[in-house]
């Protein structure tokens, strides 16, 4: 019996919808931060378990910052982070699909590898913001909200990320 006093976070349908809307982004965020995908998944799940257990005291509109806060706090105590190993989409071979010359293919491979390496080498804050935008396709305002910083700060981090990526590629 859902009463007015009971938060709708406790409703399975609401909770599931909320979960599906945010779990991947949260897991990814933790992955960008700490580099270990399994670890990121565990922490993300843990955060949602806490939300479910305490659903009565967390209204749905506060649930997002609740899980991000819990995830952030719990990962702080755990292992030192690893390299963020990313990969490209399965079918992604490069942009110019018509050009199959060996020189082109070689250059293409080198560039892709360099870019991944450069992303790995970004500092944590820049990498998290940058990948949230590139992979999760979040708006700067959303990133700002999740990281608890201003939009200006997000822009600064992205800007610096791009600068250092370009530098690394040129090396």
């Amino acid at each position: 019996m859902p009463t007015k006093n009971q938060s709708n976070t406790c409703d399975e349908i609401f909770f599931s919808t909320f979960f599906k809307g945010h779990i991947k982004a949260l897991r990814n965020f933790l992955f960008y931060k700490f580099g270990n995908l399994d670890h990121a998944e565990d922490v993300a799940q843990e955060a949602f378990v806490k939300l479910w257990q305490n659903c009565g005291s967390v209204p749905l509109e506060k649930a997002k910052s609740y899980v991000y806060t819990i995830a952030n706090n719990s990962s702080l105590n755990k292992i030192a982070h690893e390299k963020v190993v990313l990969k490209y989409e399965k079918n992604f071979k490069g942009l110019d699909k018509t050009n199959e010359s060996p020189e082109y293919l070689l250059e293409e491979k080198q560039f892709q590898a360099k870019l991944l390496k450069a992303i790995e080498n970004l500092n944590e804050k820049q990498r998290v913001a940058f990948l949230m935008h590139r992979i999760d396709e979040k708006k700067y305002s959303e990133i700002a909200l999740e990281l608890n910083i201003s939009v200006k700060a997000v822009e600064k981090r992205i800007h610096l990320a791009l600068l250092s990526l370009r530098k690394e590629i040129d090396l």
Binding site: N5, Q6, S7, C10, E12, F15, S16, F19, K20, I23, K24, R27, N28, F31, L37, E41, Q45, F48, V49, W52, Q53, N54, C55, G56, S57, L86, K87, Y88, E89, K90, F92, L95, F111, Q112, L115, I119, F130, L131, H133, R134, I135, K139, Y140, K152, V154, E155, K156, R157, I158, H159, L162, L163, L165, R166, I169, D170
Partner: protein
């Protein structure tokens, strides 16, 4: 726009036409464009959301959290109540307590240390509950009988003098100019102006107009407690005052002979007998004018 964030704006497709044209003309544009394009194709292993979700939903909710909203309100209400109670208590605690006995009535009250006070008609005591056990001090107007529990010094202040004791039974009467103290048990120290005397049980002292009279008493408690008024060498006016207080009436006296003193007892519950005794003693005739007014005339 701050130059700093130009790249960020561009990545987010937020540049204006002019800014974009300018940026596209820069030598680094190609490289940035490539980073932008390639990073759009980055991916991470998929996640089995449904498995994880069913895992989570299996977890038990924390019991009782469901009613936490109510609890919050209960807590708020409780807090307000506690605060209100606290203030009331503090007020009661710190403001002086007053006990009165109106005309025609007697009041018994218990002090914080279980000492007992019986107030005779038309009397009042005032004391502070706060720190009572360390500072047993009260103000008395009129007459009261005290049965004091053992403890620290116990002081009774009146307009006429001060009585200090350490656990005993005594009666203090301070009316008009006359100050009577009777000690029934223990020891009592009496201060009147510059005089200080100590009474032991069965002794009493009366101060009236600088005159001191000591008498021994046989009774164990004041007569007025048993509805008798006892007088020892008192003039007719103060006797009539006492009768007025006991019966809550007014008495008019039409005689010049007010000097002779009266010693004896009068009932405080039978007005006719009391009036008869006074009438016979002073050779007066009592006339009831109304329910509450008596006139004494010479016979």
């Amino acid at each position: 726009m701050k130059k700093d964030h130009l790249l960020a704006k561009w990545l987010n497709n937020d540049l204006s036409k002019d800014e974009l044209a300018e940026f596209e003309a820069s030598p680094d544009f190609e490289k940035y464009q490539r980073i932008k394009n390639y990073t759009a194709h980055l991916t991470i292993d998929d996640l089995d959301e449904n498995a994880m979700l069913s895992n989570i939903l299996k977890q038990k909710k924390v019991a009782g959290k469901v009613i936490s909203f109510d609890k919050k309100w209960m807590l708020r209400i409780a807090a307000v109540l506690v605060l209100a109670l606290g203030i009331t208590f503090a007020l009661r605690f710190f403001t002086p307590e007053t006990q009165t006995a109106g005309f025609g009535e007697k009041t018994t009250c218990t002090l914080p240390d279980n000492s007992e006070v019986v107030l005779n008609s038309g009397s009042e005591i005032k004391y502070k509950k706060w720190n009572w056990n360390n500072d047993r001090k009260l103000e008395l107007k009129g007459e009261a009988y005290f049965r004091v529990s053992k403890g620290k010094r116990f002081e009774v202040h009146t307009q006429l003098g001060k009585v200090t004791v350490l656990g005993t039974q005594f009666d203090v009467k301070a009316r008009n100019k006359r100050f009577d103290v009777v000690c029934y048990e223990g020891r009592v120290k009496v201060n009147y102006k510059h005089t200080q005397i100590v009474l032991t049980h069965g002794q009493s002292v009366t101060f009236e107009n600088e005159k001191q009279v000591n008498i021994n008493v046989n009774s164990l408690k004041p007569e007025w407690i048993d509805n008798e008024i006892s007088f020892h060498q008192e003039n007719i006016r103060s006797i009539l005052d006492e009768v007025e207080r006991q019966y809550n009436i007014t008495i008019e006296l039409n005689t010049n002979d007010t000097t002779s003193l009266f010693t004896g007892k009068l009932p405080s519950k039978d007005l006719n007998v009391a009036l008869q005794i006074i009438g016979t003693t002073y050779n007066l005739k009592a006339k009831k004018v109304s329910k509450n007014k008596i006139i004494f005339d010479k016979k």
